[in-house]
């Protein structure tokens, strides 16, 4: 019984996350278009794209690693999703450790790298290099932001942090965590692969980098992965910095849950919007510029936050 219930929950979360993720992708395209004074595609365009990719009649592969890397990436993203508190429905929120989730959110990239590199395409190699250096660049401010959180709350459980915020107010209302949140938000920009830190895919320059070789169902799976990752990353940010959402105002648990999801969705969308705006305004950084940028201001801000939180 337990197992079936858990499985059902997991499935619901997964479907919800995928759907919202695709919506986010649609929103990104629309908003960007509007900033560019274009009309833009309909919001469900990414879903159509993905369905088209998945239903292609012919796919190519470069070997076992090529296939497995993609599957692994999606699998790991689903794994990460399960650990992030999503109001009252999340499954493994008791184990939703900050460090664990931070690592889990990075794993899918490893699968994509493996798949991309095994294709032998030099652009993929170049893209992998840039992606890794971006990762290296963002890791320092990201680390400090996480450290600040851990120190501030004295616990690593995301769920407990969410609960604490229900009584103490949002994390960003205290100075150390505000600093951490600013840094983390800058980091998110690179995690989403948005400008100015999109050099790893650099469309038009290195032919989408790691993505260059994927097509057909491989690309389709990666689209799903991207959608879920988008959802998971925004959700994580909303949870740790924006107070998450635990609504118990209504009598019915179902309504409570739905309300929670709505609140979270609003917060997630807000996070996304900030990313889109920044992305639409700034031009692309080269990799060493990106590294120098991240190792300077975000790092200083986040470190200040962490040190303040430690005191």
């Amino acid at each position: 019984m337990m197992v079936i219930e858990t499985a059902l929950k997991a499935l619901l979360i997964l479907l919800y996350a995928t759907f919202v993720g695709f919506m986010f992708m649609g929103i990104i395209r629309i908003v960007t278009a509007r900033i560019h004074r274009r009309v833009g595609p309909p919001i469900y365009q990414p879903i159509l794209d993905t369905i088209k990719l998945l239903s292609k009649k012919s796919s190519i592969t470069h070997g076992l690693i090529y296939d497995f890397g993609i599957i692994y990436a999606l699998g790991a993203t689903i794994l990460a999703l399960m650990f992030i508190p999503l109001g009252g429905v999340s499954i493994l929120r008791a184990y939703g450790d900050l460090i664990l989730i931070t690592f889990l959110l990075e794993i899918p990239m490893l699968g994509i790298m493996f798949a991309a590199m095994s294709s032998g395409n030099p652009w993929a190699g170049l893209g992998a290099q840039r992606a890794l250096l971006t990762l290296l660049a963002i890791q320092v401010p990201l680390g400090f932001a996480i450290v600040a959180l851990g120190e501030f709350y004295g616990t690593f459980s995301t769920y407990q942090i969410v609960m604490a915020q229900q009584s103490m107010g949002w994390s960003i209302t205290s100075l150390p965590l505000l600093l951490a949140a600013v840094a983390y938000d800058l980091v998110l920009q690179a995690m989403f692969g948005k400008e100015p830190f999109d050099i790893m895919i650099a469309p038009g320059e290195i032919s989408l980098g790691p993505m260059v070789e994927f097509g057909g169902k491989h690309m389709g799976i990666l689209q799903i992965q991207h959608a879920i990752a988008l959802f998971a990353e925004t959700l994580f940010f909303s949870n740790i910095f924006l107070g998450g959402a635990v609504i118990t105002a209504f009598a019915s648990p179902i309504i409570n849950t739905l309300a929670t999801l709505v609140v979270l969705l609003i917060k997630q969308t807000a996070v996304l919007m900030v990313a889109i705006f920044i992305g639409a305004i700034f031009p692309r950084f080269t990799i060493d510029q990106a590294a120098r940028f991240y190792w300077k201001w975000p790092t200083i801000i986040a470190a200040a936050g962490a040190i303040l939180a430690a005191l």
Partner: protein, 620 residues
């Protein structure tokens, strides 16, 4: 009946000597494997004994010194690291060792390590330390004089530092055994609390600490004493390096723990704390943090597969030092846990490197590529090792790193926390470089008939890979043993789970949900159309055909942008500094000799006169 501790310590050496004397292919390998297996068997057996009694002890008197040995939980854990990884390395050497010389010294160094771990007095600790250093040095000497000299000089410098520290302690304590020394320092700490005169003054204490730190720092490869490691690790039989990096470096780590055991209380009272961490430990932790970063960055920039992993090894040891330095029971447990995982994944990595070099004869990234198809077994092992080192759950590397992260951040140490995060990213960075250059991309045609790992190496890798997985999924097995060291439940939870109270990690759940996730992804994958296999040359190149005439894989200077970003820092090098000091000493020596022993007998007669004048002055 010979004492079992003596068997554990000397069985490898005996086997080594026998293998050296009976230099027959087949026999020497057999003897060596037995020599490595016997201590392991005895250690496993000792586990039962230790369940009923706290320790196994043995002592012997030689040359006026009483040598004491002890096997208790802490030394058992470290000895097991040596046992398992040493055994795997010996198996690997069956495939790669060229002559009996290597057998002798490889096994001798194993004896040295066992001795260090089981020693219960400073003199045996020192002696086995020296044996270990010497034997490993001989392993390097055969391959490269310069690398071995650098290694030996720094090691001996460390050993002499330790010797002086031991001498100072002995002069005041009058005994060498750990128990007495520990007691005296503890009493001293109490005295300093009471405000009465202490046996060791503050400066002496600082001196002893500094000397020990130098000694153990060299062996562990702590910045800035790490310069020997990249050369020494790479310029020897790579199967042996599995032991060298996996086990011998742990002697340095163990030494750091010995500092805690012997001097901990006194140091803590004398120098106080920063936050919750003892100040003296903070020195260790901070050096560890810098080691992580320096080792990791340099690893990413290497063009030689052996050097990449040598630097990576240094970087990973940094984590252990951070854990030890923070100095809480939890962080020390975390550090020991990471010592175990370091031995497991680093041992595995060096065996993989050994296999690659054994089969291809190449060491530079630029000569490799596309080997995943030719060496699937080795690649699978590499996959496990990469996931483990990069700290991907549910492998052992994540469990231990996670513990260190939590332990450090929970003690409110922001800077160290940042260093740890940076270290985990840089780990990703250099591992992908290795993966890309060796396994993927177009394969140079000369590697087309590369074979997969020979059986002994495959078995050795299999053992280590299996443990990497098992200890990751069931981290509680290790945590249970670590708790015994402190005698209390510092890390709670079941065998699947680590529960610190402020953070939880469950290896089993992660495994289950990862499998679930992968199954879901696989279902989507298999619902799609059938795939068609295409060769490596059939990639998107804007319509430009790719041929095997041009190798389009980026193998050299993969992280060129990183190098450019770090250009300023890369100009500084401790290695060069030491080399400059070395040649400066040589020049000075030559000048001195030239002027003093100038061959002129009149000058010599003047020396007599000078001394006579000194005597006269002194006399009056």
């Amino acid at each position: 009946m010979i004492n079992e501790l003596m068997i554990i310590i000397f069985a490898p050496l005996l086997a080594g000597v026998l293998a050296w004397i009976f230099d027959v292919k087949g026999i020497r390998e057999g003897v060596a494997i037995i020599g490595a297996a016997v201590p392991l068997a005895y250690l496993i057996q000792a586990y039962q004994t230790l369940a009923s009694q706290p320790s196994i002890q043995y002592s012997i008197v030689l040359s006026g010194f009483k040598f004491e040995f002890i096997l208790y939980h802490l030394s058992w854990v470290f000895a097991m690291i040596a046992g398992v990884v040493g055994f795997a390395a010996v198996l690997g050497m069956v495939s790669t060792a060229k002559d009996s010389y290597e057998w002798l010294f490889a096994l001798m160094s194993l004896t040295g390590v066992y001795g260090v771990f089981l020693a219960d007095d400073l003199i045996s600790f020192f002696i086995f330390w020296e044996i270990m250093t010497f034997a490993s040095f001989m392993m390097v000497l055969k391959y490269n004089r310069k690398a071995s000299l650098k290694y030996f000089l720094l090691s001996v410098l460390g050993a002499y530092a330790m010797l002086i520290a031991i001498g100072i302690i002995y002069a005041k304590v009058g005994a060498f055994d750990f128990t007495s020394v520990q007691r005296v320092f503890y009493q001293d700490a109490m005295r300093s609390v009471m405000g009465s005169d202490t046996l060791f003054s503050r400066n002496e204490l600082l001196l002893i600490f500094g000397l020990f730190l130098t000694a153990f720092g060299v062996k562990a490869g702590t910045f800035p004493l790490h310069v020997w490691a990249p050369d020494a690790y790479s310029e020897t039989n790579q199967s042996y390096t599995a032991m060298f990096s996996g086990v011998l470096s742990k002697a340095g780590v163990y030494g750091m723990l010995v500092i805690y055991i012997l001097l901990g209380t006194r140091l803590m009272y004398e120098f106080g704390n920063i936050g919750a961490a003892p100040k003296f430990g903070y020195v260790i932790a901070f050096l560890g943090g810098i080691t992580i970063i320096v080792g990791g960055l340099l690893a990413a920039l290497q063009e030689d597969i052996r050097k990449l992993f040598a630097y990576s090894s240094i970087s990973q040891i940094g984590y252990i030092l951070v854990g030890i330095g923070v100095g809480t029971a939890l962080s020390i447990e975390a550090a020991i846990y990471h010592a175990i995982s370091h031995a497991l994944f680093k041992g595995l990595f060096f065996l993989i490197v050994a296999t690659i070099i054994h089969r291809t004869g190449k060491t530079q990234f630029k000569d490799m590529g596309g080997l995943a198809e030719k060496m699937p077994v080795t690649f699978a092992m590499a996959f496990v090792a990469i996931l483990s080192l990069a700290g991907i759950p549910p492998l052992v590397g994540f469990a231990s790193k996670w513990l260190i992260f939590e332990a450090v951040i929970h003690q409110n140490m922001p800077i160290l926390g940042g260093m740890l995060f940076f270290g985990s990213a840089i780990g990703f960075v250099y591992l992908i470089r290795f993966t890309y250059a060796v396994w993927f991309g177009q394969r140079p045609t000369e590697l087309d008939d590369t074979k997969d790992a020979p059986l002994p190496l495959a078995i050795a890798m299999g053992i280590l890979a299996l443990l990497n997985v098992v200890f990751g999924i069931a981290p509680g097995i290790v945590a249970g043993e670590l708790n015994k060291i402190f005698g209390k439940e510092i890390i709670q939870g079941t065998i699947w789970e680590l529960n610190l109270g402020f953070g939880r990690y469950n290896g089993l759940f992660i495994t289950i949900w990862l499998v679930v996730g992968i199954l879901i992804a696989a279902v989507i994958y298999f619902l799609g159309a059938k795939v068609r296999r295409v060769p490596v040359t059939d990639t998107y190149q804007a319509g430009n055909p790719v041929t095997m005439d041009y190798n389009l894989t980026i193998r050299r200077n993969f992280f060129l942008p990183l190098k450019e970003t770090l250009a300023f820092w890369l100009r500084m090098s401790f290695d060069r500094l030491y080399q400059d000091i070395g040649s400066w000493v040589e020049d000075l020596a030559e000048t001195l000799r030239h002027y003093i022993y100038n061959g002129n007998v009149q000058a010599y007669a003047w020396y007599l006169a000078a001394i006579l004048i000194i005597l006269a002055l002194w006399g009056v």
